[in-house]
Amino acid sequence: MSTIITSAPALAPASKEPGQGGGVDYLNHETSIASWLLTLDHKRIGILYLVAMSAMFVLGGFYAGLIRAELITPKGDLMSSDFYNKSFTAHGVIMVFFVLIPLVPASLGNFMLPLMIGAKDVAFPRLNLISWYVYMIGAGFTLVALIGGGVDTGWTFYTPLSTTYLNSNVLLTATGLFILGFSSILTGLNFIVTIHRMRCPGMDWFRMPLFVWALYATSVIQLLGTPVIAITLALVGVERLLGVGIFDPRLGGDPILYQHLFWFYSHPAVYIMILPPLGVTNELISTFSRKPIFGYSMMAGASLAIAIFSFIVWAHHMFTSGLSPYAAMFFSLLTFSVAIPSGIKVFTWLATLFRGSISFDSPMLYAYGFIGLFTIGGMTGLFLSTLGTDIHFHDTYFVVAHFHYVMVGGAIVGFMGGLHFIWPKMFGRMYPEFLARMSAILIFVGFNLTFFPQFLVGYLGMPRRYHEYPNEFQVLNVFSTAGATVLGVGYLLPLLYLPWSVFFGEKAGRNPWGATTLDWTHTESPPTPHNFEETPVVTGEPYKYDTLFNKESALAGH
């Protein structure tokens, strides 16, 4: 541990403030249940989201376990095909809509954004709380639908299967997701206005921490994409109710139109999931190597470029659907455009590490895991954006492996890194470092064991969403299930030691990692209710470590 910094925060404001640990903070100034449920404090709302999403993650993980257990044997001997279909639908719907999309922005983003830009709160605190309630209402509807009878459309709700041919709870699920969409829209709106209007004096655009840039790019996608999926799901619901054929060819409609509308949102949604973890990784890499991010403006630009490109590549999900060959070529070419900024990010991190001062605290281990898995996830995307190979891989387990590398290896591992990084700020306590490192390693190993075999079985041609499969795919599936148990243990550890540390962890100083952004240098751990006693005025870049051990300022701060 970096003891020097813990005891003497180098950039601490000169004023005398309440000592660490003894003063009033946002956790202890009010403690009733009502004070949590009616709070307008962005930090508490972030924690509300964290709790809700953890519960959803456990539920989604439970369904994943069921799926992996069923796939140990080629025959469907554990459950009926109907129940299997409902399980993977539940897994997909919960993980995509209720965990991955809001994961980093709503929890870590809510907590960190105002702290990072020197604001007392987000622009619309009441709207922020409403977003959480909207999330909970949407979750309620969807859970009632999923658990009370289930829905077996797959998380993509492809028509006309979902509109005309299934008798499960499609309508209720669509209602839940429709409501949930507004939570996402309101959070995005709130963040955009916060970033535009709430920055403290001197915090110009190119002095913002890169996590803020990532949140900005994400919010733009949330704002522009989510209404389209909302209206599309509403159309699916109405089509079921009234028997009007917007998407059913028997009634004059077009099922391909649904796919266009669906992927117009759902492809950018992938970047809603991955951009914030990409952003949070910048903070980790910079802090734990004590180097400014190499090529800051390129990195910020890459986030925006990904957000913009994400809206023009959606039809690469439809190469086999009878899309005209020219449209297919066009969308294939555009899809490669997303690869470039993603590559820039990885190279930038490597260049940042070069000649750094690298420490291997658990958040950094997660960041390493993130870079590795995101690289594999991104590179295997090449197989799917290339027309000649995508035809073979489309809708096989190769696609499943690819997007799990990006969404779990990328988004979830990045989130875990960010969470371990921010934890001491959130609760003012350290978690058991050894267990945290163990969990980071277990997740990395378990993840690869689970999903790498799926690349191979996908190349063999095993289709997605198969309850039963031919015998020759069994060995790889058994490997995958074995890996999933390791992965499960990796996730279980933090679920145990993190809550434990809130009460029994060692006290953390205001800046245990030696980070240089406002959230660490200018707020207590945990922060006071209004974050900053005095509005900070920023005069320099966000990542600057050469003054960190400047003896004079260190003394002045004490």
Binding site: L189, V193, G245, L261, E534, T535, V538
Partner: protein, 275 residues
């Protein structure tokens, strides 16, 4: 990060006396005003894309089933649509005056102009209700009750002077007590694929106009609340973000109608192409 400190706590609250004018997390009234304004614009951007999905579906099917969409559009009365357009433009004008009054700090005038806006809005919805009632008699609600054969026949009768009251009042149907369609009409619809296409048009017509109407009703609610606050002098020239925001919202709702009107009512057939 290099940082210096600045005392701010006083200056923010000194200039303006009213406690409600500045929420605690803003540094200045200007910041709060800009934030509210930008938030509203962002919300309207979202709304554009929300309607955008429906417009996209409409465009595609209009291209695909152009003939039937024209015939279906003929069922609608462009005169009523035009009157409604004018009514909504008037309501936008009164809304603009309400915002102007807020900037000048004339509380009672805000109430009056918002009231006028609501009256025009209600007139619009009243005309719309009349249209829907007529549509119900023609059986063009896109439910199982939809009947294209009936709609075309009754519409043709109406145009040739028989009037809308001529069809049998003795039979009760699905909505608005509309007459029940005879079995041979249902039979003929089932063998005519164009009926499905027409049903798509009316589905889009009712989705878009009812989503628009829903937005107006939400607008009424917000305006009513603002009228109460304004009556008690809550808004000042320093603080009128809510009035300005509802103004932006209302202009947006009008703008959506300006697009809906030609798309739905003036589909070419009325302009002289004929059947």
């Amino acid at each position: 990060m290099q940082v210096t400190e600045k005392k701010h706590a006083q200056e923010a609250h000194d200039d303006h006396g009213h406690g409600h004018e500045l929420a605690h997390h803003f540094v200045s009234v200007e910041q709060q005003h800009d934030a509210g304004n930008l938030g509203m614009w962002m919300f309207l951007t979202t709304e554009v894309l929300f309607f955008g999905g429906l417009f996209a579906a409409y465009t595609i099917y209009r291209y695909k089933f152009e003939k039937v969409f024209e015939q279906a559009s003929n069922i609608l009365d462009p005169m009523l649509g035009a009157i409604n357009t004018i009514v909504l433009i008037f309501s936008s004008v009164t809304m603009a005056f309400a915002v102007r009054s807020a900037q000048q700090g004339k509380s009672k005038a805000i109430v009056a102009w918002l009231g006028a806006t609501i009256v025009f809005g209600a007139l619009f919805l009243g005309i719309k209700y009349g249209e829907w009632k007529h549509d119900a008699h023609l059986h063009v609600f896109p439910t199982s009750d939809f009947n294209w054969t009936w709609a075309r026949e009754k519409h043709a009768e109406g145009e040739h002077g028989h009037g809308h009251d001529s069809h049998g009042p003795e039979l009760k149907g699905f909505v608005f007590n509309s007459p029940v369609v005879p079995a041979n009409y249902i039979e003929s619809d089932s063998r005519n694929p164009e009926a499905k296409q027409a049903k798509l048009f009316f589905f889009l017509y009712f989705s878009m106009t009812s989503l628009h109407a829903l937005h107006m009703i939400i607008g009424f609610g917000v305006m009513a609340v603002i009228m109460v606050y304004a009556w008690y002098g809550y808004y000042t020239p320093h603080y009128y973000v809510p009035v300005e925001s509802v103004g932006l919202y209302w202009h947006f709702v009008d703008l959506v109608w300006i697009f809906l009107f030609p798309l739905l009512y003036l589909l070419g057939a009325h302009l002289g192409a004929g059947h």
